[in-house]
Protein backbone atom coordinates (compact mmCIF):
# COMPACT_ATOMS: atom_id res chain seq x y z
CA UNK A 1 0.00 0.00 0.00
CA UNK A 2 1.21 3.46 -0.84
CA UNK A 3 2.21 5.89 1.88
CA UNK A 4 -0.70 8.08 3.10
CA UNK A 5 -0.50 11.85 2.81
CA UNK A 6 0.75 14.08 5.59
CA UNK A 7 -1.95 15.76 7.64
CA UNK A 8 -1.33 18.97 9.56
CA UNK A 9 -3.31 19.52 12.75
CA UNK A 10 -3.55 22.92 14.41
CA UNK A 11 -4.84 22.18 17.88
CA UNK A 12 -5.92 24.59 20.59
CA UNK A 13 -3.91 23.91 23.76
CA UNK A 14 -4.62 25.35 27.17
CA UNK A 15 -4.73 23.79 30.59
CA UNK A 16 -6.61 26.03 33.07
CA UNK A 17 -5.17 23.94 35.93
CA UNK A 18 -1.61 25.03 35.05
CA UNK A 19 -0.99 28.41 36.71
CA UNK A 20 1.33 29.79 34.01
CA UNK A 21 -0.24 28.22 30.93
CA UNK A 22 -1.46 30.50 28.13
CA UNK A 23 -3.92 29.52 25.35
CA UNK A 24 -2.03 28.70 22.15
CA UNK A 25 -2.32 26.80 18.87
CA UNK A 26 0.09 23.87 18.40
CA UNK A 27 0.92 22.20 15.05
CA UNK A 28 1.18 18.42 14.69
CA UNK A 29 2.04 16.30 11.65
CA UNK A 30 0.51 12.87 11.12
CA UNK A 31 0.43 10.32 8.30
CA UNK A 32 -3.11 9.63 7.12
CA UNK A 33 -4.40 6.04 7.19
CA UNK A 34 -7.41 4.69 5.23
CA UNK A 35 -10.75 5.53 6.85
CA UNK A 36 -9.11 7.80 9.41
CA UNK A 37 -11.45 9.97 11.49
CA UNK A 38 -10.40 13.03 13.48
CA UNK A 39 -11.03 10.93 16.57
CA UNK A 40 -8.58 8.21 15.41
CA UNK A 41 -6.05 10.90 14.52
CA UNK A 42 -6.31 12.48 17.97
CA UNK A 43 -5.74 9.13 19.66
CA UNK A 44 -2.67 8.51 17.48
CA UNK A 45 -1.30 11.96 18.26
CA UNK A 46 -1.76 11.38 21.96
CA UNK A 47 -0.21 7.91 21.80
CA UNK A 48 2.77 8.77 19.61
CA UNK A 49 3.50 12.48 19.97
CA UNK A 50 1.99 14.22 22.98
CA UNK A 51 0.57 12.35 25.96
CA UNK A 52 -0.66 15.58 27.58
CA UNK A 53 -3.25 16.25 24.83
CA UNK A 54 -6.74 16.39 26.38
CA UNK A 55 -9.94 15.47 24.54
CA UNK A 56 -13.07 13.49 25.35
CA UNK A 57 -14.39 10.32 23.83
CA UNK A 58 -16.28 7.23 24.91
CA UNK A 59 -18.05 5.36 22.14
CA UNK A 60 -16.16 6.37 18.92
CA UNK A 61 -19.46 5.78 17.02
CA UNK A 62 -21.53 8.98 17.30
CA UNK A 63 -23.68 7.77 20.17
CA UNK A 64 -22.17 9.19 23.36
CA UNK A 65 -21.78 12.80 22.17
CA UNK A 66 -18.48 13.30 24.04
CA UNK A 67 -16.10 14.15 21.20
CA UNK A 68 -17.82 17.29 19.88
CA UNK A 69 -15.37 20.04 18.89
CA UNK A 70 -14.99 22.76 16.26
CA UNK A 71 -13.33 21.24 13.20
CA UNK A 72 -12.27 23.81 10.58
CA UNK A 73 -15.01 26.19 11.70
CA UNK A 74 -17.80 23.64 11.98
CA UNK A 75 -18.84 22.27 15.37
CA UNK A 76 -19.35 18.50 15.03
CA UNK A 77 -18.39 15.07 16.37
CA UNK A 78 -14.72 14.12 15.84
CA UNK A 79 -15.59 10.42 15.57
CA UNK A 80 -17.92 11.03 12.62
CA UNK A 81 -15.55 13.29 10.69
CA UNK A 82 -13.26 11.63 8.15
CA UNK A 83 -9.91 13.31 7.59
CA UNK A 84 -10.38 12.51 3.87
CA UNK A 85 -13.04 15.24 3.87
CA UNK A 86 -10.29 17.89 3.87
CA UNK A 87 -8.46 17.89 0.52
CA UNK A 88 -5.73 20.27 1.75
CA UNK A 89 -4.95 17.99 4.70
CA UNK A 90 -5.00 20.97 7.06
CA UNK A 91 -7.26 20.51 10.09
CA UNK A 92 -7.84 23.09 12.83
CA UNK A 93 -9.37 21.87 16.08
CA UNK A 94 -10.91 24.16 18.70
CA UNK A 95 -12.91 23.29 21.82
CA UNK A 96 -16.68 23.92 21.70
CA UNK A 97 -17.30 27.56 22.65
CA UNK A 98 -19.84 28.40 25.35
CA UNK A 99 -18.86 25.66 27.81
CA UNK A 100 -16.51 25.45 30.75
CA UNK A 101 -13.08 24.42 29.45
CA UNK A 102 -11.56 21.39 31.16
CA UNK A 103 -8.41 21.52 29.04
CA UNK A 104 -7.38 21.62 25.35
CA UNK A 105 -10.35 20.18 23.42
CA UNK A 106 -12.23 18.90 26.45
CA UNK A 107 -15.24 20.90 27.68
CA UNK A 108 -17.72 20.28 30.48
CA UNK A 109 -20.96 19.72 28.56
CA UNK A 110 -22.27 17.45 31.33
CA UNK A 111 -22.44 20.24 33.89
CA UNK A 112 -24.31 22.45 31.44
CA UNK A 113 -26.78 19.71 30.49
CA UNK A 114 -27.51 18.91 34.12
CA UNK A 115 -28.13 22.57 35.01
CA UNK A 116 -30.40 22.87 32.00
CA UNK A 117 -32.38 19.74 32.92
CA UNK A 118 -32.88 20.99 36.47
CA UNK A 119 -33.89 24.43 35.32
CA UNK A 120 -36.38 23.26 32.67
CA UNK A 121 -37.43 20.14 34.62
CA UNK A 122 -36.60 17.84 31.74
CA UNK A 123 -38.10 14.63 33.02
CA UNK A 124 -41.51 13.03 32.78
CA UNK A 125 -44.11 14.50 35.14
CA UNK A 126 -46.65 11.69 35.36
CA UNK A 127 -50.34 12.36 35.73
CA UNK A 128 -51.41 11.85 39.37
CA UNK A 129 -53.47 8.70 38.69
CA UNK A 130 -50.39 7.01 37.21
CA UNK A 131 -48.68 6.67 40.57
CA UNK A 132 -49.90 3.14 41.44
CA UNK A 133 -47.22 0.59 40.56
CA UNK A 134 -49.86 -2.15 40.30
CA UNK A 135 -51.74 -0.53 37.44
CA UNK A 136 -50.84 -1.56 33.90
CA UNK A 137 -49.36 1.28 31.82
CA UNK A 138 -51.56 2.60 29.04
CA UNK A 139 -50.29 1.53 25.62
CA UNK A 140 -48.79 4.37 23.57
CA UNK A 141 -49.88 5.09 20.02
CA UNK A 142 -47.03 3.87 17.73
CA UNK A 143 -47.00 7.17 15.82
CA UNK A 144 -46.57 9.09 19.05
CA UNK A 145 -43.81 6.72 20.17
CA UNK A 146 -42.03 7.25 16.84
CA UNK A 147 -42.31 11.05 17.19
CA UNK A 148 -40.89 10.91 20.71
CA UNK A 149 -38.14 8.55 19.67
CA UNK A 150 -37.07 10.95 16.92
CA UNK A 151 -36.39 13.63 19.56
CA UNK A 152 -34.89 11.14 22.03
CA UNK A 153 -32.01 10.61 19.59
CA UNK A 154 -30.30 13.73 21.00
CA UNK A 155 -26.88 12.75 22.40
CA UNK A 156 -26.37 16.04 24.31
CA UNK A 157 -23.10 16.71 22.49
CA UNK A 158 -23.50 20.48 22.85
CA UNK A 159 -22.99 21.29 19.15
CA UNK A 160 -26.34 23.15 18.91
CA UNK A 161 -25.34 25.34 21.87
CA UNK A 162 -21.94 26.17 20.37
CA UNK A 163 -23.38 26.83 16.91
CA UNK A 164 -25.95 29.29 18.26
CA UNK A 165 -24.92 32.95 18.14
CA UNK A 166 -27.96 33.84 20.27
CA UNK A 167 -26.74 31.54 23.03
CA UNK A 168 -23.24 33.04 22.82
CA UNK A 169 -24.68 36.53 23.23
CA UNK A 170 -27.18 35.65 25.99
CA UNK A 171 -25.87 33.36 28.68
CA UNK A 172 -29.31 32.46 30.07
CA UNK A 173 -30.85 31.48 26.70
CA UNK A 174 -31.96 27.82 26.85
CA UNK A 175 -30.66 26.93 23.38
CA UNK A 176 -31.93 24.29 20.98
CA UNK A 177 -31.20 21.29 23.20
CA UNK A 178 -33.47 22.68 25.93
CA UNK A 179 -36.28 23.46 23.52
CA UNK A 180 -36.03 20.08 21.78
CA UNK A 181 -36.40 18.34 25.13
CA UNK A 182 -39.34 20.56 26.14
CA UNK A 183 -40.96 19.71 22.79
CA UNK A 184 -40.41 16.03 23.55
CA UNK A 185 -42.31 16.21 26.86
CA UNK A 186 -44.94 18.52 25.40
CA UNK A 187 -45.74 15.79 22.85
CA UNK A 188 -45.73 12.99 25.42
CA UNK A 189 -49.33 12.04 26.31
CA UNK A 190 -48.15 10.67 29.67
CA UNK A 191 -46.84 14.04 30.80
CA UNK A 192 -49.19 16.02 33.06
CA UNK A 193 -47.82 19.46 32.18
CA UNK A 194 -50.04 21.76 30.13
CA UNK A 195 -49.02 24.28 27.49
CA UNK A 196 -49.35 26.96 30.16
CA UNK A 197 -46.89 25.16 32.42
CA UNK A 198 -44.40 25.03 29.57
CA UNK A 199 -45.07 28.68 28.81
CA UNK A 200 -43.85 29.57 32.28
CA UNK A 201 -40.57 27.81 31.54
CA UNK A 202 -39.83 28.85 27.93
CA UNK A 203 -42.36 31.59 27.17
CA UNK A 204 -39.83 34.39 27.53
CA UNK A 205 -36.70 35.96 26.09
CA UNK A 206 -34.58 33.14 27.48
CA UNK A 207 -36.81 30.59 25.79
CA UNK A 208 -38.58 30.22 22.50
CA UNK A 209 -39.21 33.97 22.04
CA UNK A 210 -35.52 34.72 22.43
CA UNK A 211 -34.64 32.41 19.53
CA UNK A 212 -33.74 34.44 16.44
CA UNK A 213 -33.95 31.49 14.03
CA UNK A 214 -30.29 31.67 13.03
CA UNK A 215 -30.52 27.86 12.64
CA UNK A 216 -26.93 27.07 13.58
CA UNK A 217 -28.48 24.23 15.60
CA UNK A 218 -30.30 22.75 12.61
CA UNK A 219 -27.33 23.07 10.26
CA UNK A 220 -24.71 21.55 12.55
CA UNK A 221 -26.55 18.87 14.57
CA UNK A 222 -24.58 15.62 14.04
CA UNK A 223 -27.77 13.61 14.58
CA UNK A 224 -29.78 15.63 12.04
CA UNK A 225 -32.53 16.40 14.53
CA UNK A 226 -35.41 18.56 13.23
CA UNK A 227 -34.62 21.67 15.31
CA UNK A 228 -36.22 24.09 12.87
CA UNK A 229 -39.60 22.32 12.80
CA UNK A 230 -39.67 21.63 16.54
CA UNK A 231 -38.77 25.15 17.61
CA UNK A 232 -41.31 26.56 15.11
CA UNK A 233 -43.91 24.14 16.53
CA UNK A 234 -43.15 25.26 20.09
CA UNK A 235 -43.23 28.91 19.04
CA UNK A 236 -46.66 28.52 17.44
CA UNK A 237 -47.91 26.55 20.43
CA UNK A 238 -46.56 29.06 22.96
CA UNK A 239 -47.80 32.04 20.95
CA UNK A 240 -51.32 30.59 21.10
CA UNK A 241 -51.09 29.99 24.86
CA UNK A 242 -52.31 32.68 27.28
CA UNK A 243 -54.39 34.44 24.63
CA UNK A 244 -57.37 32.11 24.76
Amino acid sequence: MSQGRQLTFNIFRYDPQEPNDKPKMVRYQLTETPGMTVFIALNKLREEQDTSLQFDFVCRAGICGSCAMVINGFPTLACRTLTAKYPKGEITLMPLPGFELIGDLSVNTGKFMRELAERLKLWLHPKSNDISVHRLEDPMDPDEAARLYELERCVECGVCVSACATKQMRETFVGAVGMMKIARFEMDSRDARTAEDFYHVIGNQDGVFGCMTLLGCQDNCPKDLPHMQQIAYLRRKMAMTLIR
Binding site: F112, M169, G203, F209
Partner: protein, 240 residues
Protein backbone atom coordinates in the same frame (compact mmCIF):
# COMPACT_ATOMS: atom_id res chain seq x y z
CA UNK B 1 -17.92 33.36 56.96
CA UNK B 2 -17.94 32.36 53.35
CA UNK B 3 -15.20 32.84 50.84
CA UNK B 4 -17.63 32.95 47.89
CA UNK B 5 -17.91 36.54 46.76
CA UNK B 6 -19.66 35.99 43.46
CA UNK B 7 -22.31 33.43 42.69
CA UNK B 8 -22.31 32.51 39.04
CA UNK B 9 -25.96 31.94 38.27
CA UNK B 10 -26.79 30.54 34.86
CA UNK B 11 -30.35 29.89 35.93
CA UNK B 12 -32.69 32.63 34.85
CA UNK B 13 -35.41 33.66 37.26
CA UNK B 14 -37.56 35.22 34.56
CA UNK B 15 -40.93 33.59 34.03
CA UNK B 16 -43.07 33.33 30.96
CA UNK B 17 -44.82 36.61 30.32
CA UNK B 18 -47.72 37.22 27.89
CA UNK B 19 -45.80 40.12 26.36
CA UNK B 20 -42.99 37.81 25.24
CA UNK B 21 -45.39 36.10 22.84
CA UNK B 22 -47.06 39.37 21.87
CA UNK B 23 -43.74 41.04 21.09
CA UNK B 24 -42.63 38.12 18.92
CA UNK B 25 -45.93 38.05 17.04
CA UNK B 26 -45.87 41.85 16.59
CA UNK B 27 -42.32 41.77 15.24
CA UNK B 28 -43.22 39.13 12.66
CA UNK B 29 -46.58 40.69 11.74
CA UNK B 30 -45.19 44.22 11.26
CA UNK B 31 -42.18 42.73 9.45
CA UNK B 32 -44.37 40.84 6.98
CA UNK B 33 -46.47 43.96 6.43
CA UNK B 34 -43.47 46.22 5.87
CA UNK B 35 -41.72 43.65 3.63
CA UNK B 36 -44.90 43.11 1.62
CA UNK B 37 -45.36 46.87 1.30
CA UNK B 38 -41.77 47.23 0.09
CA UNK B 39 -42.41 44.74 -2.73
CA UNK B 40 -45.47 46.71 -3.86
CA UNK B 41 -43.79 50.11 -3.37
CA UNK B 42 -40.74 49.14 -5.44
CA UNK B 43 -42.95 47.99 -8.31
CA UNK B 44 -45.21 51.06 -8.19
CA UNK B 45 -42.32 53.53 -8.27
CA UNK B 46 -40.47 51.60 -10.97
CA UNK B 47 -43.44 52.07 -13.31
CA UNK B 48 -41.46 55.15 -14.39
CA UNK B 49 -39.41 52.67 -16.45
CA UNK B 50 -42.52 52.20 -18.62
CA UNK B 51 -42.74 55.95 -19.21
CA UNK B 52 -44.04 59.09 -17.49
CA UNK B 53 -47.59 58.28 -18.55
CA UNK B 54 -47.54 54.87 -16.78
CA UNK B 55 -46.18 56.33 -13.55
CA UNK B 56 -48.72 59.16 -13.66
CA UNK B 57 -51.59 56.67 -13.87
CA UNK B 58 -50.22 54.54 -11.02
CA UNK B 59 -50.03 57.63 -8.78
CA UNK B 60 -53.45 58.80 -9.94
CA UNK B 61 -54.98 55.42 -9.08
CA UNK B 62 -53.30 55.14 -5.66
CA UNK B 63 -54.14 58.71 -4.67
CA UNK B 64 -57.80 58.23 -5.63
CA UNK B 65 -57.81 60.25 -8.87
CA UNK B 66 -61.26 58.99 -9.84
CA UNK B 67 -62.76 60.69 -6.78
CA UNK B 68 -61.17 64.10 -7.29
CA UNK B 69 -62.56 66.91 -9.47
CA UNK B 70 -59.14 67.62 -11.06
CA UNK B 71 -58.52 63.93 -11.80
CA UNK B 72 -55.02 64.10 -10.27
CA UNK B 73 -55.94 62.56 -6.88
CA UNK B 74 -55.27 63.77 -3.35
CA UNK B 75 -51.66 64.01 -2.05
CA UNK B 76 -53.15 63.83 1.47
CA UNK B 77 -53.59 60.07 0.82
CA UNK B 78 -49.80 59.73 0.61
CA UNK B 79 -49.45 61.89 3.71
CA UNK B 80 -51.86 59.81 5.81
CA UNK B 81 -50.42 56.54 4.55
CA UNK B 82 -46.88 57.72 5.36
CA UNK B 83 -47.94 58.49 8.94
CA UNK B 84 -49.39 54.98 9.17
CA UNK B 85 -46.16 53.44 7.80
CA UNK B 86 -44.13 55.48 10.28
CA UNK B 87 -46.22 54.01 13.11
CA UNK B 88 -45.61 50.50 11.72
CA UNK B 89 -41.86 51.16 11.54
CA UNK B 90 -41.86 52.47 15.12
CA UNK B 91 -43.65 49.35 16.42
CA UNK B 92 -41.37 47.05 14.40
CA UNK B 93 -38.24 48.86 15.59
CA UNK B 94 -39.39 48.81 19.21
CA UNK B 95 -39.92 45.05 19.29
CA UNK B 96 -36.93 44.28 17.06
CA UNK B 97 -34.69 46.16 19.50
CA UNK B 98 -34.93 43.08 21.76
CA UNK B 99 -32.62 41.34 19.28
CA UNK B 100 -29.83 43.91 19.21
CA UNK B 101 -26.60 43.11 21.03
CA UNK B 102 -27.05 46.17 23.21
CA UNK B 103 -23.99 45.53 25.37
CA UNK B 104 -20.43 45.62 24.13
CA UNK B 105 -19.84 42.16 25.58
CA UNK B 106 -22.68 40.76 23.48
CA UNK B 107 -21.27 42.39 20.36
CA UNK B 108 -17.84 40.91 21.08
CA UNK B 109 -19.40 37.48 21.70
CA UNK B 110 -21.20 37.72 18.35
CA UNK B 111 -18.07 38.77 16.43
CA UNK B 112 -15.96 36.10 18.13
CA UNK B 113 -18.60 33.48 17.34
CA UNK B 114 -18.80 34.53 13.70
CA UNK B 115 -15.01 34.41 13.48
CA UNK B 116 -14.72 30.89 14.82
CA UNK B 117 -17.87 29.24 13.47
CA UNK B 118 -18.73 29.22 9.84
CA UNK B 119 -22.49 29.57 9.39
CA UNK B 120 -24.30 31.31 6.54
CA UNK B 121 -27.63 32.07 8.21
CA UNK B 122 -25.84 33.69 11.14
CA UNK B 123 -23.97 35.89 8.68
CA UNK B 124 -27.28 36.73 6.97
CA UNK B 125 -28.72 37.75 10.32
CA UNK B 126 -25.65 39.88 10.99
CA UNK B 127 -26.34 41.82 7.78
CA UNK B 128 -29.95 42.17 8.81
CA UNK B 129 -28.76 43.59 12.12
CA UNK B 130 -26.45 46.12 10.42
CA UNK B 131 -29.03 47.18 7.82
CA UNK B 132 -31.70 47.34 10.54
CA UNK B 133 -29.54 49.78 12.46
CA UNK B 134 -28.97 51.90 9.34
CA UNK B 135 -32.73 51.94 8.68
CA UNK B 136 -33.36 53.53 12.09
CA UNK B 137 -31.95 56.71 10.56
CA UNK B 138 -32.82 56.46 6.88
CA UNK B 139 -36.48 55.37 6.97
CA UNK B 140 -37.69 58.32 9.11
CA UNK B 141 -35.95 60.76 6.73
CA UNK B 142 -37.75 59.21 3.76
CA UNK B 143 -41.10 59.11 5.58
CA UNK B 144 -40.85 62.69 6.88
CA UNK B 145 -40.24 63.87 3.31
CA UNK B 146 -43.40 62.07 2.21
CA UNK B 147 -45.38 63.47 5.17
CA UNK B 148 -44.23 67.08 4.79
CA UNK B 149 -44.05 67.19 1.00
CA UNK B 150 -46.18 64.39 -0.39
CA UNK B 151 -46.38 65.57 -4.02
CA UNK B 152 -45.67 62.58 -6.25
CA UNK B 153 -45.59 62.59 -10.03
CA UNK B 154 -43.20 61.97 -12.93
CA UNK B 155 -41.87 65.54 -12.74
CA UNK B 156 -42.38 66.22 -9.03
CA UNK B 157 -40.61 63.02 -7.97
CA UNK B 158 -37.79 63.63 -10.44
CA UNK B 159 -37.43 67.15 -9.01
CA UNK B 160 -37.08 65.68 -5.53
CA UNK B 161 -34.52 63.12 -6.68
CA UNK B 162 -32.42 65.42 -8.87
CA UNK B 163 -32.85 69.05 -7.71
CA UNK B 164 -33.41 68.35 -4.01
CA UNK B 165 -30.64 65.71 -3.99
CA UNK B 166 -32.86 62.97 -2.55
CA UNK B 167 -30.90 60.48 -4.70
CA UNK B 168 -28.26 60.48 -2.00
CA UNK B 169 -30.83 59.17 0.49
CA UNK B 170 -32.18 56.60 -1.96
CA UNK B 171 -28.73 55.27 -2.88
CA UNK B 172 -28.19 54.40 0.79
CA UNK B 173 -31.77 53.40 1.58
CA UNK B 174 -32.27 51.01 -1.37
CA UNK B 175 -29.61 48.37 -0.56
CA UNK B 176 -30.25 48.61 3.19
CA UNK B 177 -34.01 48.15 2.96
CA UNK B 178 -33.90 45.45 0.26
CA UNK B 179 -31.34 43.31 2.10
CA UNK B 180 -33.08 43.78 5.46
CA UNK B 181 -36.57 43.05 4.18
CA UNK B 182 -35.80 40.02 1.99
CA UNK B 183 -33.66 38.26 4.62
CA UNK B 184 -36.40 39.17 7.10
CA UNK B 185 -39.19 37.63 5.01
CA UNK B 186 -37.08 34.47 4.60
CA UNK B 187 -36.50 34.31 8.35
CA UNK B 188 -40.12 34.86 9.28
CA UNK B 189 -41.16 31.99 6.98
CA UNK B 190 -38.75 29.48 8.58
CA UNK B 191 -39.28 30.92 12.06
CA UNK B 192 -42.97 30.08 12.28
CA UNK B 193 -42.65 26.92 10.21
CA UNK B 194 -44.63 28.32 7.27
CA UNK B 195 -42.39 26.25 5.02
CA UNK B 196 -39.70 23.63 5.50
CA UNK B 197 -38.23 24.08 2.00
CA UNK B 198 -35.43 26.22 3.28
CA UNK B 199 -32.79 26.02 0.56
CA UNK B 200 -35.32 26.92 -2.15
CA UNK B 201 -36.57 29.83 -0.10
CA UNK B 202 -33.04 31.06 0.51
CA UNK B 203 -32.34 31.03 -3.24
CA UNK B 204 -35.61 32.84 -3.86
CA UNK B 205 -34.66 35.54 -1.33
CA UNK B 206 -31.26 35.97 -3.04
CA UNK B 207 -32.87 36.29 -6.47
CA UNK B 208 -35.36 38.83 -5.09
CA UNK B 209 -32.54 40.90 -3.55
CA UNK B 210 -30.70 41.08 -6.87
CA UNK B 211 -33.92 41.75 -8.82
CA UNK B 212 -35.08 44.53 -6.47
CA UNK B 213 -31.64 46.16 -6.42
CA UNK B 214 -31.60 46.23 -10.24
CA UNK B 215 -35.18 47.49 -10.42
CA UNK B 216 -34.56 50.21 -7.83
CA UNK B 217 -31.28 51.35 -9.37
CA UNK B 218 -32.82 51.50 -12.85
CA UNK B 219 -35.75 53.61 -11.56
CA UNK B 220 -33.42 55.94 -9.68
CA UNK B 221 -31.26 56.48 -12.76
CA UNK B 222 -34.37 57.12 -14.79
CA UNK B 223 -35.56 59.79 -12.30
CA UNK B 224 -32.12 61.39 -12.42
CA UNK B 225 -32.34 61.63 -16.22
CA UNK B 226 -35.86 63.07 -16.10
CA UNK B 227 -34.81 65.52 -13.37
CA UNK B 228 -31.77 66.73 -15.32
CA UNK B 229 -34.02 67.61 -18.29
CA UNK B 230 -36.49 69.62 -16.20
CA UNK B 231 -36.40 73.42 -16.11
CA UNK B 232 -36.92 75.33 -12.87
CA UNK B 233 -39.61 75.97 -11.65
CA UNK B 234 -40.82 72.43 -12.32
CA UNK B 235 -44.26 72.07 -13.85
CA UNK B 236 -46.25 68.97 -12.79
CA UNK B 237 -46.64 66.38 -15.55
CA UNK B 238 -50.04 66.35 -17.22
CA UNK B 239 -50.83 63.56 -19.72
CA UNK B 240 -51.90 64.68 -23.20
Amino acid sequence: MTSITRVHNRVSTSQGHPWSAKADRLQSATGIMLGGFLLLHMHFESSILLGKEAFYHVVQLLEGGMFSSTGHGFPIVTKVFSVFMLLMVIVHAAVALRRFPAQLGQWRALRLHMGSINHKDTHAWFWQLITGFILFFLVPVHLFTMILNPEIGPHLSAERVYHDNAWLLYVLLLPAVVVHAMIGLYRVAVKWGITTKRSGLRKFAKVLIIYLLCLGTASLVSYLFIGSELGIPVQPFVPE
